[in-house]
Symmetry: C2
Subunit: 322 residues, 2 copies
């Protein structure tokens, strides 16, 4: 059995790679972070609990990736550039079989984004992974939830609902063949944070949020904060490649309220339509216009013909859901 | 049952009190923090787990205080000024009876230090409280573990071992009358982070650490990082007011390796002896010179006569300890 200090040293301590912005990394009472002159820090924390956010038998390498990915997704939704993160970890036991792939999965994604592990904590306890991530953004440039304006177009990156489809397969809510489940599960286990897109949208988009609890609910936060309403074209929603083969009603429900998508939903002036498409192309991710912001409160659903669509949706709530 | 969003809104969302340094607080994908020009950020995370760091029946108001206090103690040990923190919380259920006093205890301490709650996460799960705290410190001014120099005096703030005495009482390792246990338990449940002292030691002390896992072990981290050794006078250790009444051997063991003290252990040049005393007086906390740094590796214990003292000590380790 490794001691706590051996554990940290072995799997999570590396020489700082960006000594200019991380003058002091893992191993002191605090880490020291030096943001570039005049920049603000964007900060987000996410806590992932076994049995709630991931299965007990989750592949530790994918889990390491996902835990950091969901945090980077929050930075992406602010248009912030990743700098660093802390990792606090409660573990039932310190096992190398789990820690080696977990740290590799996490640090590979961290390296891909130049995001440095600068500190944290480890303790014994029911498996719980808490990451706090730091990015930088110029004053006034952050993509806030309260910045949508009536007349804006509403966009979403990538595709929606495949993670929810995989969950439905695991739960036997619907029958899925192994190939479909396997493909859909990739979206659940290995989300790709849209960091480059968030950065490319600076100065173009008004408001943004990352779609973690379901598009309708997350867009609802933008509408509420911005004191506006919206109309979505449910036929325009970019369903995931596996969800696309499912019946219409399921497709719409999972695309609108699936959860675990980690795409960006954002609004931008109509006049910037071409710039948004160019930002998506530059970031290497599809962007789809799915509706428009207006002054009438609430979120209304339409099909392509303009006919109203009624769907029973519920956004994910950690305490209210079963 | 409160929903997750009601819960956050009700107990943890307040208008930002320092809009200059927190342009955006709770409620977006990220919070935004604007450190003063040219300052570095000191960052620390601590995760507290039920049954490991606190008893299941712990008073929620004191627990809220303690969870933030242990993080502020890390800032104190760097000589950093508290700015803000994030709170990630896994709860078995969202109960007002627990959340109201928990948030009150935490936010009262936060307000006392001008440290703003800027974001976080809540989820259902075994009780787990993870705080990440942010302070600011001028470049080069942080009190690092690797900065002790042979010839430095070694100091400790306040008193040691009463928290460990209370634990011994709770565990029935030793008999304690109710009054003694009650008094000692205050040190366990309501630690006072030495923030003002940490700030006052800037430019005076060389190295510092907060004593959370036991003085000998924590001082050991300074020695190892600084590549020096030390001699401690065990008779000089400031035992807590309840521990002082205990037999010598217990007194020494609990003062040296008790844990949960949250005092500052620091080193400073002999020439600064009077300045250290003045810093303690200014911060309103006793500071006691307990030994000296030298070039011989390891930590050696002596009594006041200079005779070597041998004690069986073990620093707290979250995975190795039972």
């Amino acid at each position: 059995m490794l001691s706590e200090f051996d554990l940290i040293a072995h799997y999570f301590t590396r020489p700082p790679r960006h000594a200019d912005r991380v003058p002091l990394g893992v191993g002191d009472d605090c880490a020291l972070l030096a943001p570039a002159a005049g920049m603000q820090l964007a900060i987000s924390s996410d806590m992932l609990v076994e049995g709630r956010h991931f299965f007990p038998e989750a592949d530790p390498r994918l889990l390491g990736h996902k835990c950091l990915a969901v945090n980077l997704s929050d930075l992406a939704a602010m248009g912030a550039r990743p700098l660093a993160f802390t990792l606090a970890l409660a573990l039932p036991e310190a096992s190398s079989e789990w820690l080696a792939p977990f740290s590799e999965g996490m640090l590979a994604l961290a390296d891909a984004h130049g995001c440095e592990l600068i500190g944290g904590d480890t303790t014994k306890g029911p498996l719980n992974i808490c990451i706090t991530v730091f990015g930088e953004v110029a004053p006034g440039a952050a993509l806030r939830r309260d910045a949508a304006v009536a007349g804006d177009e509403i966009w979403v990156s990538g595709s929606l609902g495949d993670a929810r489809l995989a969950l439905a397969g695991y739960r036997h809510e619907i029958p899925l063949d192994d190939a479909t489940l396997g493909e859909a599960a990739t979206r659940m286990h290995a989300p790709v944070p849209r960091v480059a897109l968030g950065l490319a949208l600076g100065g173009i988009a008004h408001a943004a949020i990352d779609v973690s609890d379901g598009l309708a609910g997350d867009l609802g936060h933008i509408l509420e904060r911005s004191k506006v309403g919206a109309v979505l074209n449910v036929d325009a929603l970019p369903a995931g490649s596996m969800l696309r083969k499912q019946p219409q009603e399921l497709r719409r429900r999972f695309a609108l309220a699936g959860g675990d998508d980690y795409e960006l939903c954002f609004t931008a002036p109509r006049a910037r339509h071409e710039q948004v498409l160019a930002a998506g192309a530059a970031a290497g991710v599809a962007v789809t216009c799915i509706g428009r912001v207006d002054a009438q409160p609430g979120l209304r659903l339409e099909d392509t013909s303009g006919a109203p669509v009624s769907l029973q949706l519920s956004s994910f709530d950690h305490f209210a859901s079963p």
